[in-house]
């Protein structure tokens, strides 16, 4: 029994030894196999242009900037889809002004942006002898040229519709390009920066 086991172990040892020994391969056969592998890898490559894109970060940034620029350039040429709306919101009257019109609120806006969507406000001034009236305030960056009022020829009342964001705003009328005039319909406050009186407009949500 012992002898049989010893013979079997010896036989297994010889088999393992044989299997561990690699067969000799001709040198030209190895070269041929490597050449085939190289050829196969080359055929799987997606091309020089895209390989550079994958490995070059600066190039990728360059393409991204170029795409952005192209977007800016063609934006005006591509017809834009009309924005979806949630509602036509009626505009309530506001202190010191008369409410008017409706405002379309973009449906894509988030909650805060929706709450800050501008509301159309009407500014009115009785100034029948004025030649020009502009409203200047923080809502139009104090640029009167943006918001000239129009005169009603029959009543002599000047008025303009202006989109104003909800919140507290200060403003005044500029009559004939030089006379600072407060809104008689609105509350007043003193500006602490320049020391002048200004009219106050509180705008709520639509």
């Amino acid at each position: 029994m012992h002898d049989i086991n010893e013979e079997r172990d010896e036989l297994i040892g010889r088999i393992v030894s044989e299997l561990r020994t690699l067969p000799t391969v001709p040198a030209d056969a190895t070269a041929r196999v490597l050449a085939r592998v190289d050829a196969a890898r080359e055929s799987e490559r997606p091309g020089r242009f895209s390989r550079r894109l994958i490995i070059s970060l600066p190039a990728a940034i360059g393409y991204a900037l170029a795409a952005t620029l192209a977007g800016f350039l063609i934006r005006g040429a591509v017809p834009r889809r009309p924005e979806a709306t949630v509602a036509e919101v009626p505009i309530p009257p506001v202190a010191g002004t008369l409410g008017a019109g409706t405002k379309i609120v973009p449906a894509t806006a988030n909650r805060r942006a929706l709450q800050e969507a501008p509301v159309t406000v009407q500014f009115v001034l009785d100034a029948p002898r004025a030649k020009s009236v502009m409203v200047v305030g923080d809502f139009n960056a104090w640029d009167g040229s943006r918001t000239p009022l129009e005169r009603d020829s029959t009543t002599g009342v000047w008025s303009a519709l202006v989109d104003v964001h909800p919140g507290r705003h200060v403003y005044a009328f500029l009559v004939d390009g030089k006379t600072w005039m407060l809104d008689p319909r609105a509350p007043r406050t003193k500006d602490l920066d320049y020391g002048t009186q200004q009219s106050v407009l509180m705008v709520g949500l639509p």
């Binding site: 242009f49 550079r52 600066p58 190039a59 940034i61 360059g62 393409y63 900037l65 170029a66 952005t68 620029l69 800016f72 202190a95 988030n110 909650r111 805060r112 942006a113 709450q115 800050e116 200047v136 923080d138 960056a141 104090w142 640029d143 009167g144 040229s145 964001h165 909800p166 919140g167 507290r168 705003h169 500029l174 600072w180 509350p187 406050t189 602490l192 920066d193 320049y194 002048t196 106050v200 509180m202 705008v203 709520g204 949500l205």
Partner: protein, 219 residues
């Protein structure tokens, strides 16, 4: 090699486009300013831009002074002060104050509202816009309600779920009361009694004692 050249070229074009866009935006914002005023406020604007603050309100403040024929030195001081207020407002309403909120908060700070109040308002107001509540707070103070009292009540209203229309209604009511001869703080007491019971979280807020002047809800 050719791809390198194309990428370099596109990068240059993009950089030029970005610079032109920034210059155009800056030019639009500074439109109407005389050269002396524009030069005086330029360093302040640049610093604000570096800090990612909106610069349009700074130009607007300068234009406001110019429209009123204020001397350049005074305009520069006002713009500098506004930049400081916007910086403080931005910190108080961090991390994502909107431009409208910054505008309102800078005005509130000008009226004496402490930054802690603005932080408390942001915490109480959640993700809603604070432009109207802060504006109403500023206006209540302008009407003569003491800063501490107005701040406390506005924060309490936000905690109870008050929305913009509640604040606008409160301000309008106080305005009418003051015009009728009532004291501003008396009017605030009176009008809060009409608003608070109808707020969604009034019961919860009362239970936690968040507001000093919350009237007891009728049982």
């Amino acid at each position: 090699m050719r791809t390198d050249r194309i990428v370099r070229c596109l990068r240059c074009v993009s950089a030029i486009a970005v610079l032109m866009t920034a210059r155009a935006a800056s030019g639009q914002a500074s439109k109407g300013l005389d050269s002396a005023t524009a030069a005086a406020i330029a360093p302040i604007v640049e610093q604000a831009r570096d800090e990612k603050l909106p610069v349009a309100p700074l130009y607007a403040k300068a234009r406001e002074g110019q429209v009123q024929r204020v001397p350049v030195v005074k305009i520069e001081a006002a713009v500098r002060t506004l930049a400081d207020r916007m910086r403080a407002a931005n910190e108080a309403l961090a991390p994502d104050a909107s431009e409208q909120e910054l505008h309102a908060a800078a005005d509130a700070i000008k009226s004496g509202v402490p930054a802690e109040t603005l932080r408390a308002m942001r915490k109480a107001g959640g993700d809603g816009s604070l432009a109207v509540p802060i504006g109403v707070l500023t206006q209540l103070i302008a009407r003569g309600v003491p800063v501490e009292r107005a701040s406390m009540e506005v924060v309490a209203l936000l905690q109870k779920g008050a929305v913009a229309r509640n604040f606008i209604a409160l301000e309008e009511s106080v305005r009418q009361d003051v015009l009728a001869g009532r004291r501003p703080d008396e009017s605030l007491d009176l009008r809060l009694k009409g608003i608070i019971p109808n707020l969604p979280q009034a019961a919860n807020a009362d239970a936690t004692g968040l507001s000093a002047s919350s009237p007891k809800r009728p049982r």
